[in-house]
Symmetry: C2
Subunit: 368 residues, 2 copies
Amino acid sequence: MTSALDQSNAQSGRIVISVDAMGGDQGPAAVVAGISSSAQINPDIAFILHGPKDELKRLVARKKNLAGRCELRDARDVVQMTDKPSQIMRQGKDTSMWSAIESVRNGEATVCVSCGNTGALMLMSVVRLRKLPGIYRPAIAVLWPSQNPQNFNIMLDGGADIRADAKDLMQYALMGTSYARNGFGLERPRVGLLNVGTEEHKGRSELKEAYDLIAANAHNADFDFVGFVEGRDLPGTTCDVIVTDGFTGNVALKTGEGTAGLISTLLREAFKYSPLSRLASVLAYTSLQRLKKRVDPRRANGGVFLGLNGTVVKSHGAADATGVSAAVKLAYQLAETGFTEKLAARVASASLLEQDGPTEISNDGETE
Amino acid sequence: MTSALDQSNAQSGRIVISVDAMGGDQGPAAVVAGISSSAQINPDIAFILHGPKDELKRLVARKKNLAGRCELRDARDVVQMTDKPSQIMRQGKDTSMWSAIESVRNGEATVCVSCGNTGALMLMSVVRLRKLPGIYRPAIAVLWPSQNPQNFNIMLDGGADIRADAKDLMQYALMGTSYARNGFGLERPRVGLLNVGTEEHKGRSELKEAYDLIAANAHNADFDFVGFVEGRDLPGTTCDVIVTDGFTGNVALKTGEGTAGLISTLLREAFKYSPLSRLASVLAYTSLQRLKKRVDPRRANGGVFLGLNGTVVKSHGAADATGVSAAVKLAYQLAETGFTEKLAARVASASLLEQDGPTEISNDGETE
């Protein structure tokens, strides 16, 4: 199905992002506002938007800058947050999420963005896009605010799968490295393996195996392996990419969110305490806004699904226009750098490497 | 060995805490300052202090309020942070840590406090105090700042052992409940089991087994089981006790510390940004101090080793006098309530229960 709009986008050289308008807590209006703000900033972007056509038509018509840059695809159903995997695969074909993934599958769009149910999005992505050859477990890569120059660290797996063996963790290292290179422009990312201590004798035995496997691939895959890292290194500066299984990653992610939330609540309470502290809060306003912007989860919005034939960005379910726009920006960056193809090539070359067996144990990246 | 001082303490009805003066980053002076500040506040406390006698004698002599309330035990060696388990068991007998545990073992003191190497402290505690009958894996219970009325939640295991099966997790629930009751005066603590989602179908299979086992014991052990909880509930208000394996617990703990540290650094930077923001920081000083006090890790200092014949409190290695004093306060509270005996009774009754088989599946504590 190639419409006049498709052709116009193709002719303009614009990068097309497929966006699921539904499934977010704030409804399609927030999604349309988000893509409109992205379109405002970036002239090289165009959209295919999926959802109930009449409603979307009204919302898009109000945004002048989307005229001629946003094609609509009608989809009547919406994946609910409570939907179970079996339901989704039986009844999911008419949903906006399915339709959004389909646009990546058939090559109309480069990256798909959705605010919907994570489990459903991963399941549909795996079924429709298929895993890259050699990948057993796809992963979700998430961003952590950090003090590294790029302002963020990458952690994977953020919860696509609750298990990961040594080989999976090695593949996460490769995929995370590729993401860091294409998303942040880091030439030689530093990779750490999450454990309960940095000493080599600590932790679970499968982690020791993963340690050796990652170290063996570091040289050829062009990253620095810093060895075992701890929870405090997730927002730290020891490395750029942190590799762990999805269970641990998901717990860590939500612990970090919860801790930041608690501090933010207590900070508000502290400033409400007395008339003087309320005055201080007025004067401190811009300082606090500066901090808020720096750790604003909306600006680090977008878990990237890695290991599939196509790139899918999962935006936070609660994302507002700013959050959606951040996810779209990430999607654009990954599309622009040809991330999907580069990642596939990286994984393929490692599979070859593995067939040959690692010829060299390289752990030259021990940085502290 | 019963000295005149022991008798005087026994006569005074004071509770005796055994304190390892060595092994902390800040040396014995910080430890002596900490116990002195505890002695100042609490007339019902006395100490046995372990370390190089001459040095300790000088330090204690400077603190008038420790006169007649602090007995010294000479120990020449110190466990180093880098010591490995094998070294410790071969060469550990002359250390201050060993000596401090020995005072609990022979009944001179009720609780032991140490700032030293966690692994060494746990190993020596297990070897010298022995595990409670029926306990396979002892655990470290740590405190999380939270918005619950008691200001803290309890998480275990904080890293004593990297594995835990369903039965271990059930015992952690019992031990954590006992700690919450004796440490915080909570009559009916709410217990949650850490997972990647709150839905019953999520997570690892051993967690589902643990879920059933904990639910089956909730009624008889007098706690409310709220079911699965997530990382964000660690600093949250959903429950008072969070149960997890030591690997996940350790990663979560360090992730929380790291996140709090990042926000604190960024907050300082935000206030340094301009002359106006520096002025605001002066006015906001007391508000920020209020916040700092609330989440100050020194005030939540003390990981409690549970599941042994005797109670051991692990203070943070970097603890200063305030931190040591907080750990001593916790030790005193646990000693005063007869925690060791109550915990042993609780575990014994659950073992009996288990022999009979649970007769009733009780999950009446589903609160939200």
